[in-house]
Structures are given as C-alpha cells and as structure tokens.
C-alpha cells in the first residue's frame, strides 16, 4: 500500500528541520498556520513566527519588508487568499522588488474538498506565473516537498509553492533529483507523453497502467515546476512520442497546460489534449468525488490519451 501524506505536512516538517541551522528563516501567517502546517515552525521557533491575523495583504508586505534585511521570509495561508487577496502585494512588493519571499500556500485545487468553491483555488498557477521574477512550483509528494522546501530556502528570490490539503501517494524516491525547472520522467513511454503536476501525476501513472492494457505506451512526466517550465523535456517528449496530454488540478486556462502549449506551439507542434477544470468553480464534496465529477481521474486522462493518439499524423 502506497503511503499517503499531504504535502503541507512535509512542508511544515521540513521547515522545522531547516530552522535548526538557519536562523534567518521567518514565517508570517494569515491565521491559518494550523492548516498550512506553518504551526510546526511556530512551536519550534516562536520568536521567528508571526501570525499577523486575517490580513493577507499585510502578511505579504511585511514578509517583503523583513526580507530586505537578509531574512528568508515565508508568507503562508490558503492559496485562494494569498494569491488572490494579496495579488497586488505579491506583484509589487515581492516580484517588482525581487524580494527573497517564499509564498507557500496550502489548500489549492478541488481536493480541498468539503469547504467548497470559495476555498478551492484553481487559478494560482495562472496568476502567479504571469508575474516577472517569480518561480512557481507544485511538489508531487511528501518526499519531493521536503526537497522543494530545502531548495526554495537555498534559492534567492520570489517563489510560489503550492501544497495540498489532501493526502497524496508517495511516488518518488529520496534519491530522485529535485531541481527547479527540471522535470522528472516518472515512467518512460513512446506513444504519448502525459505532463502533469501535483496529485495529477499519480492519476497519470494510473492512467498509464490502464493504457498499457490497451496497448498504449505512455510516458508520464512530473512537471513540478510550472515556471520556469522545462522546455527541453516538453520538446523532447513531443518529438519522441508525437502527442501530449496535460493534467492539472487547476483551471483549463493559464496553468500548466497553457504553459506546455506555449512551448509546443512555438517549438514542436503536436496534438495536445488538456485535462483540467473546464472553466467552472468547484463545490463541496470529498476529494475523490470532486476529482470524478470534474473529470480529473485516471480514466479521464486515459480517455484524453486515446483522443490525442487518434489525432496523431
């Protein structure tokens, strides 16, 4: 049985580890540290943790200010609140000033679950990646989020990282590399490439198993970095397989799929199908019910693959 852990947990735990040797890490929270797991850091290092209350704009602006003194500052909350409510602060204070601020948000995607559409952020990739200077990442599991947390502390400059509320299967190994902007091939294949991030990577691997039984050999790529997107991996996948399916727990517009298509259209046009939320808000339900209802399951990816293969020349 695959181990299931939410990436927010890995983030919280790893930050505590990093805090042991790095006293320049400061964490700011918009009163959701219990949910984002930033509270692990609060308990370990109360003097370096600040719950600024339900004031997302202030959380981001304050984190930006403190970073100018050489601190690595984290602005934390739910994805929907920080990326939307504090967008101007992320644009101006963090990105325009190129501050060493890490915007780390949990509770993105439909798998937030029962809280419903208001809390299910489905636009964070789109609105973050359009801003200059910021990098956008979405770790795939507990092992990768720990590496990502170490990496974003070591890397200077603005970074947005999305973590999950829902437990995700652990599908990577400690020995796998994690480099921002370098995709990891999870499974090789020659007929089609499925490029996915977050929870959709494990759904894509399940889809590849379904397709195997149908005689289709699918490559699955973990595109943990949405910006800067790994152009080389996308172009190579398109050249070698001739068809691409993207899969993300995000709106159809502006996210991972769009980023992949931007590369393909300019460098290696091939047929593409996009698995994503089709321009709608979510609703209350269990994560599994929602993934089914919004067509983000392995079977939906497998169907998109069969469709895209028919379009291959």
């Amino acid at each position: 049985m695959t181990e299931m852990i939410a990436t927010r947990d890995g983030f919280g735990n790893e930050l505590v580890e990093l805090g042991k040797t790095n006293d320049k890490i400061l964490v700011f929270s918009g009163d959701l540290e219990d949910a984002t797991r930033a509270e692990y850091f609060k308990k370990a290092y109360p003097a370096r943790f600040f719950n600024l209350g339900i004031t997302e704009q202030d959380v981001v602006g304050t984190a930006a200010g403190a970073s100018t003194l050489g601190f690595v500052t984290f602005a934390t909350s739910f994805a929907v609140f920080l990326t939307n409510r504090a967008y101007d602060q992320i644009r101006m204070d963090v990105c325009y000033n190129n501050c060493n601020v890490k915007v780390v948000c949990s509770h993105a995607g439909l798998t937030v679950g029962q809280d419903g559409a208001s809390a299910q952020c489905l636009e964070d990739f789109a609105i973050m990646r359009v801003l200059p200077n910021i990098r956008v990442i979405c770790p795939v599991d507990n092992i990768e989020v720990c590496k990502a947390t170490r990496t974003i502390v070591a890397e200077n400059g603005p970074i947005y990282m999305r973590t999950s509320r829902a437990p995700l299967p652990v599908i990577t190994q400690q020995s796998d590399p994690f480099v921002i902007g370098k995709a990891n091939v999870m499974r090789d294949g020659k007929d089609v490439a499925i490029i996915a991030c977050g929870i959709m990577v494990s759904e894509s691997l399940a889809a590849a198993e379904i397709l195997k039984g149908q005689g289709i050999d699918a490559r699955v790529i973990n595109m943990h970095t949405i910006k800067p997107i790994d152009k080389d991996a996308i172009i190579a996948a398109a050249k070698e397989t001739g068809a691409v399916v993207t899969a993300e727990e995000h709106q159809m517009y502006g996210g991972l799929g769009s980023a992949v298509v931007e590369v393909l259209a300019q460098h290696q046009p091939v047929p593409v199908e996009m698995v994503a939320v089709a321009d709608s808000f979510g609703e209350s339900g269990t994560p599994e019910e929602l993934l089914k209802a919004y067509h983000l399951k392995d079977v939906d990816i497998a169907q998109a693959v069969r469709k895209v293969i028919k379009r291959k020349k």
Binding site: G53, D58, T62, D88
Partner: protein, 274 residues
Amino acid sequence: MPQAPDIQALKQKAFEFRKEILETLNLAGSGHPGGSLSAVEIMVALYFYKMQHRPTDPKWEDRDRMIVSKGHVSPVVYVTLANAGYFPKEELKRFRKMGSFLQGHVHVKTPGVEFNTGSLGHGLSVANGIAIGAKLLKKSFRTFCLMGDGELQEGSVWEAAMTAAHHKLDNVCAIVDYNQVQENGLISDIKNLEPLTTKWQSFGWHVLSVDGHDLSVLIAALDQAQATKDKPTVIIANTLKGKGVKFMELQAGWHGKAPNTQQLKDALEILERV
C-alpha cells in the same frame, strides 16, 4: 543627530527644493507636483536633521530606512536625495526619461531609495517588516514611512496599522502628508478621513498632529516619536497640496500634471518662502 538645527538654513533648502521640483517636472513633462510640494518640509526635516544615513554609502547597514509609500511623489524624493549627495543633481534632468534611474515612481535603481512603490497602501506593511527584522537583529535604526492622506483610504494601511501597534513597533514612524486633496478633489468630499487623530489613536498609535510646513515643530515631533517607547508613532503633518505655488494650492488638477514652461515661469515668480 545634529544638535540645534539651523532652521533658517533648512528653510532655505525647502525653498530651493520647491524650485528644483518644479524645474524637474517641467523638463519631464509629466509627474506629480501637488504631493511633492506638500511634503518638502517633511523630507528636509528627515534627511537633513533626523535620519541617520550616509549618502556616500547608501547601503550602510545601520542606516535609518525610509519607505516612500506614496511613490508618486518621486520629484520631492529625488530632489532631496540629490541634494543630500546620493547622486549628481544633473541626473534630475533625466527624470522619467528612458534609461534613467529616476523612474516615474520611486525605484531602488536610485541610490537612496529603499523600496519600489507606486501602488498605494503598501508601504506601512513593508516598513513594519523591516522594523520586525531590526528588532530580531537587535539593530537600533528606525524605519520611516511617508504616506499620502488619500492613501489612507486603502484598507491595507489599517491592516498594517494594527500590526505595528500589536507588535509594539516603536522603531516605526509613519508620517502622513495630510495635504487634503486627492486626484479628483477634496478628501473631505470624496471619502473623509476624520477624525483622523482619534482614528490612529484607537488603532493603538502615538499620534502627533502638527503643522507639516513648520520645520521647528516637525523636528520636535520627530524627536518625540523617537523618544516614545512600546508604541509606533504617526506624525500627521497638516499641509497644503501644492504648497508654495498659490495657483497650485489645494487644486486637484495639480495632483498629477507637470507645469509647462510658462506655468513654470509663473510659479517661480510667485514661489513662496514658507
């Protein structure tokens, strides 16, 4: 900190600054005179009396920080920094020109500018962040934040006001240039700020409401702010938008319009010694 400031010399600086602000705007052909002219004495008191800073070493780690939250008053900021010695005055002629480090709204490309601003309601949070960091580092420098009055209509200012009071950021000093006018008219007509003193007091701040064109009282207020412990201080500087040029005073039309050459000539002829 210099003792017994020479008020006459500072007044002379203020007079010269207004002239240079108008000339700089005229050459640029665009920009914001109203809120620059109202903030002249504030900037003179800060950079030529209160602030610990080294124009020849702009990144000196123990310098006092200044966050210009109303980033559109770049003319008064640049004129102040040039006169303080951060860069040659000649550069003022390139204000708002392609390739110049004197961007339309203040930018860290300019020696002496700490933070890029231009969208209102951001600066106080940034100043608080610096102040929190300074306390953690046990640094004694102070952080100033120049805000516009219209800017106080932004809700984010009050988020930051709560943070500064809650965390007892006595190393923060906010200065509100209360010049009474915003882009499209009088603040009291558009969205009234009053009662402003009690508003800040109720947010937990030490409040000093002073004549923002009187250098002596501004200096006294800045000293009093520094002496106040366990609370942030806000100096409400009561000013006139466009101060010093009669035809610009309290005129919303001069919020964001540069004087043409005739208007510059007229303005310099009647320029008041405040």
